[in-house]
Symmetry: C2
Amino acid sequence: MSKKIITISREFGSGGRTIGRQVAEKLGVSFYDKELIEQVAAKSGLAEKFIEEQGEYSPAQNRFAYAFVGRSINGMSVDDYLWSVQRKIILEIAERESCVIVGRCADYILRDREDVLNVFVHADKQKRAERIVKLYGESSKAPEKRLMEKDKKRAINYKYYTEQEWGKAKNYHLSLDSGEFGIEKCVEIITELAK
Amino acid sequence: MSKKIITISREFGSGGRTIGRQVAEKLGVSFYDKELIEQVAAKSGLAEKFIEEQGEYSPAQNRFAYAFVGRSINGMSVDDYLWSVQRKIILEIAERESCVIVGRCADYILRDREDVLNVFVHADKQKRAERIVKLYGESSKAPEKRLMEKDKKRAINYKYYTEQEWGKAKNYHLSLDSGEFGIEKCVEIITELAK
């Protein structure tokens, strides 16, 4: 494909991860999400679960990180260390192979490359609420509240590390409403544009 | 087509108007831009040139409107009168026929309809600067400054009348970087998704 790497940023519950996985399958390239986290964990020595939970949240929101106040790894805060390890791994992957990367500010990290297609996937609140209940089940919190909290965290984290606005059309080559078009059509459009 | 109306919001110089016209041609539907302005003018009795210049700018920026301070039409300020006439015409058109409408907050005005596809077209500053110099010629102002001023006005106007953020991916079903994909490809994607 003419675009070597596709990054997918997504609202919680929009199906962005599913879309990313299917695009990777269609294009026959690697898919990085949990896999990426595992690599980060292996390289950084930080517990995998901790990274999974905290990797997309900025220090301001990261309660767990307060337990580490005053601690540092290689002279950095836990969060900044985690960010720098993730960044390094994403740059290495992009250099090495064609792939789809979901989340982790990969669009920003790879901004100096010409061969990256940056996609943002969103959907209206109702459709996302239905999706997360179907996928992750009910919880004591209303699904709308779960959506809001997760998206807010993603937005703050993105802003903290990139100084850009999360979800602003200009930051991406393509933004799609998956609730409007459906997962399949989104996969089709992204695949077509990456070729 | 399953979508009766396509609205196109666009950054200045992104080619959004050209894309809109070509989509309308491909789908065999009406195209509203200057045509819309003419209708507004005819209905409102306001001079066509005035509407063309001021129709997308909010009162706060509208120097010409200061000349009308204290004046009102049908009990409204000139700007609000203009907005209400444009709004009414856009609603009438949407009721009447399939079409492509560029600008004029049509996405917001038609938000209660299910048969509207809302598109945002953007491109990086350099590509837009090249395009406006090519299309409209040089001027005493640097093209980057012309872009910034025009987009700022559109954003303020959009916010004023819609209370929404201009250029935020969530407000549109589809956002496209025309500098990345080219006019032709954008036309193709929009046409495909409208069907």
